[in-house]
Structures are given as structure tokens and as C-alpha cells.
Symmetry: C2
Subunit: 240 residues, 2 copies
DNA sequence: CGCGTTTTTGAAGCCCCTCAAGTGTAGTGG
DNA sequence: CCACTACACTTGAGGGGCTTCAAAAACGCG
């Protein structure tokens, strides 16, 4: 079974065979987690680094009044909190959205990867920086795009990320997110989320049913989103 | 004249005298920059690390339709893009908001700080993680807070940050941001920004005039904002 | 003093929210 | 096979928060 983590890191650095073997060994032990389980909660002391091997999860915060805001989606291959050890406590929670398989890498092992294996370290830092870039783009979306553009933009992002790790086939990919979850991520109500999807379907832009999303009109979708994929940094610095 | 950069790092690690001397030397050379000057633009190859010594700046992105979204405020003591060298190009721009004094530290020197001076490295990583935490909280604000709470929350954040670096006196601090700039940061129109400030003034929560902000009712402000300062991580991991 | 920028105020309208009810779609157990 | 439950999705009606458009007032700087 494919290790999306190693595949993903391989996109951002030239990993040697020993590098790959080491990463495989560190993620060899994994546990299954049901959907809707917190991996770690706001206020907890940071623990080991989680690596998503299968399934989706999200970072989120709960507001005093009870609302939830999702801050990031974690897909297979993604890691959580590379260097959280520096801070006293988690400032957000992480929860699975689907049944998942998760590996844990201890702090010391992470330290070894970062200091003793330059190419792995480089790949890890790159993914970290891209995650940060995605946060910035989310802020732009929330601040300046209307609901239709916001939904379209998120779909573009998730599609490209899914494709990078080999989870997309053609213009379709598995997106096991309910409309409630999407609404929590985009700062909308589930009701309005539903209406926006209705419009996008009616305009023959996408088809979305129960976990699978098909993009009928990629150009139209990107135009509605005002999508510029540079922020995902899929071009490497020294690739030229 | 105080070096806010060193003062700030001193909040997050125990710096030795040689550490302090080294940081002072690296930021000894600085240049003055007028207001509204781009330090670096989206699409540029990352350059040296900038250190704000005086004045304010912001990260921002311009949308295809012309709108601007500010993604972060940089105050004296803040650094930009600690490790940007890994990525091929900037995914956002940085611009001064006031006349400023900026030091530049070359990539090699940064590398030396990170690998050869553990306490400095620790402090730099901490500030980096806090910046990321702030991004997450901004997403929460944009997604789930109405305009009044959003404005109140930003004021709370900026006040605490200003106080950390010694820029606040009592419940007042210098906040040289126009209403247009605040609107660009909060995803509002300048017109509405003005009305929200009007309400907050009318309720005797704040006073805000030309660069100086006075918080009349800190408790009321924090209540409106739903403010929880944990995300600024002013408590250190090993402080206990 | 004159000019650009910032702040302020008004009026009208739309986007998205709130409240509410109804319709699938699975899964469980009788 | 159906009853029951839980959850996700769908649709309607009404309201409010924020925007848009427009213009005037106040400020700051040469």
C-alpha cells in the first residue's frame, strides 16, 4: 500500500534510498482512528508529530459561543506540528473527518530527521512553509471573496492537493467532506453552503455527491475562484 | 536607542551576552524606508531576512479584481520570512505602513544563527510559530466574528503585541494605521470600518485618533472580541 | 493657502444569516 | 421487511449586516 507521506516529501526534495527507508520505518507503525476523533485538543501539551497515512482530518477552533471554525484540512501524507515542541500548549485542536490511519513520530526522532538528514529536513520545511502559505490564502478568501468564489477556490485547492498525492483521477477526486464541514471551513452557514453548491451544479461547473467531487468545467471553476496556484509552491526553488 | 528585535527575542529564550552582542552586530546596519514602500513583492525570489527596527509594515496580497487583503502586521522587533530560502518565490508582498528603519540579515548569517546558537534559534522558531498561530486566529475572526468583534479582537491583539515590546504605556499605544488599512486587514469596507469605530467610541470602549489608540474599557473590549490571549503564547513552554 | 488624503455621514440594496420545516439516505433492531 | 433513529441535504420566507454609491467635512503637508 502506498505511503503518501514519502510520496509527498519526494515532491519537494531528492530523497536517497536510505532516506526513504528511514521514513518508511518511522511510519511503519500506525493506528486506525475512527471518524470524529480528536487527535489532540486545544490546551494540550504538544505530543508526537502525527502523520496522516489514510483519511482526512482538520485543524479547528471552537468559539466561546459554540461555533466552530476549521483552519486547515489534512489529507493523506500531511503532517501536524513539526516543531510544536517549542510552545507550551496547542492553540487549536485536530480531529479526524473520516476513518483514518495515523502514524506518530516521537520528538527525538523528528529532531534526528531535521538535523541529520538534510534532504528530509528540506522537504519537511517546505511542506511547513506551504501550509503557512495556504493559511494566508485562506485569509484572503475569507476577507475578499464572496461565497461562490470561496467555495470554488477551496475546491481548486483541494483538487490540486489531492492530485499531487495521487488521489485524483482525471477531473474527479474523493472529497469526503459534508456540507456542514465545508461551511465550517469557509465561514458560511450550512444552509448557504448548500445553496452555493446548488448554483455551481446548476451552472454545470461541478458534480458533488457523497464524498466524490467531479469538476465538469475546470476553467470556469478557476475563473469563478480567481485561482492562482502559485501559493501551493509546486515549482521547486532549484528546479530551474 | 532600544533594539526591539533583541528585546522581543529575549522574551522567548535566555540569551547570553555573546548572543545579544551577535544580534546587535547583525542589526547594526539598517536603512530608513519611507511609508508605502514595498520591501519585497509577490513573485520575487526571497532575499535576505528583514528585521523591523522602527515603524510598521504589513504582508498583503492583491486580488485580480484589484482589492487588497492584509495578512499580517509587522511591528518593531518582527522579522520576515526566516526560512523563505526554501521556496522559489514570494507568495505575497510586504510594504511599510509608516516611515521605518529596517535591517537585513543575509541568508548565510541566518543559517549560522539557526545552527550555531541554540537559544537564538529557539527564540526565532518561537516567534515563527506564534506568527503562524496569529494567522489561524485571523481565519477564525474572519470566518466567525461579526465586524464589531473583529475590530475589537484586532485591537486586543495589537495592544498586547505592542505591550510585549514596550510600545504601550498604560492602556494606550501608538497604532499608526488608517481606517483604510484596518479595513483591508479585516475584510471590511473603509465605510463600514468607520461606522464600527464610531460605535466603539460611542460606547466608551476606545478612543482612536490619528495614530494613537486608548482603551477606555479593556474588559468590555475583550468581551466584545471574545478574546483569549493564549494564542499569542506569551507563556513559555519551560517557564513552569 | 491649496490640495491630497483620511474621515464622516446618508441612502439604497444585496448577500448571507436565521428560523423553520421537509426530504432523502444509512444503519439498527424488531 | 418494516419501524425507528440519526444525520445530511434541501427548500422557503423574512430580516439584518455589510456593501455600494455619493458627497461633504476634517485633517495634514507642501
Amino acid at each position: 500500500m502506498a505511503n503518501r507521506f514519502i510520496e509527498k516529501l519526494g515532491c519537494f526534495a531528492v530523497l536517497s534510498d536510505p532516506d526513504i527507508a528511514l521514513l518508511a520505518k518511522m511510519t511503519a507503525v500506525s493506528r486506525r482512528v475512527r471518524a470524529r476523533q480528536d487527535l489532540i485538543r486545544e490546551g494540550d501539551r504538544p505530543g508526537p508529530v502525527f502523520v496522516m497515512l489514510e483519511g482526512w482530518a482538520c485543524r479547528y477552533k471552537i468559539l466561546p459561543e459554540g461555533g466552530r471554525q476549521i483552519i486547515a484540512f489534512l489529507m493523506p501524507g500531511d503532517t501536524c506540528d513539526l516543531h510544536g515542541a517549542v510552545l507550551a500548549e496547542m492553540d487549536h485542536s485536530i480531529q479526524t473527518l473520516t476513518p483514518a490511519r495515523v502514524a506518530s513520530i516521537g520528538r527525538l526522532e523528528v529532531q534526528e530527521l531535521l538535523t541529520g538528514h538534510p534532504e528530509i529536513a528540506r522537504a519537511l520545511w517546505t511542506t511547513q512553509l506551504i501550509d503557512e502559505s495556504v493559511l494566508r490564502v485562506w485569509i484572503v478568501s475569507m476577507g475578499r471573496r464572496d461565497s461562490k468564489a470561496r467555495v470554488a477556490h477551496l475546491i481548486c485547492e483541494l483538487y490540486l492537493r489531492a492530485r499531487t498525492i495521487g488521489l485524483a483521477s482525471g477531473d474527479s477526486f474523493e472529497m469526503p467532506l459534508s456540507q456542514v464541514v465545508l461551511a465550517d471551513a469557509l465561514g458560511l452557514t450550512p444552509v448557504h453552503m448548500n445553496r452555493v453548491l446548488h448554483v455551481l451544479r446548476g451552472a454545470d461547473i461541478i458534480r458533488f455527491r457523497r464524498g466524490a467531487l467531479h469538476i465538469i468545467d475546470p476553467t470556469g471553476l478557476a475563473r469563478i475562484a480567481g485561482f492562482d496556484e502559485n501559493y501551493l509552491h509546486r515549482r521547486l526553488r532549484d528546479a530551474a
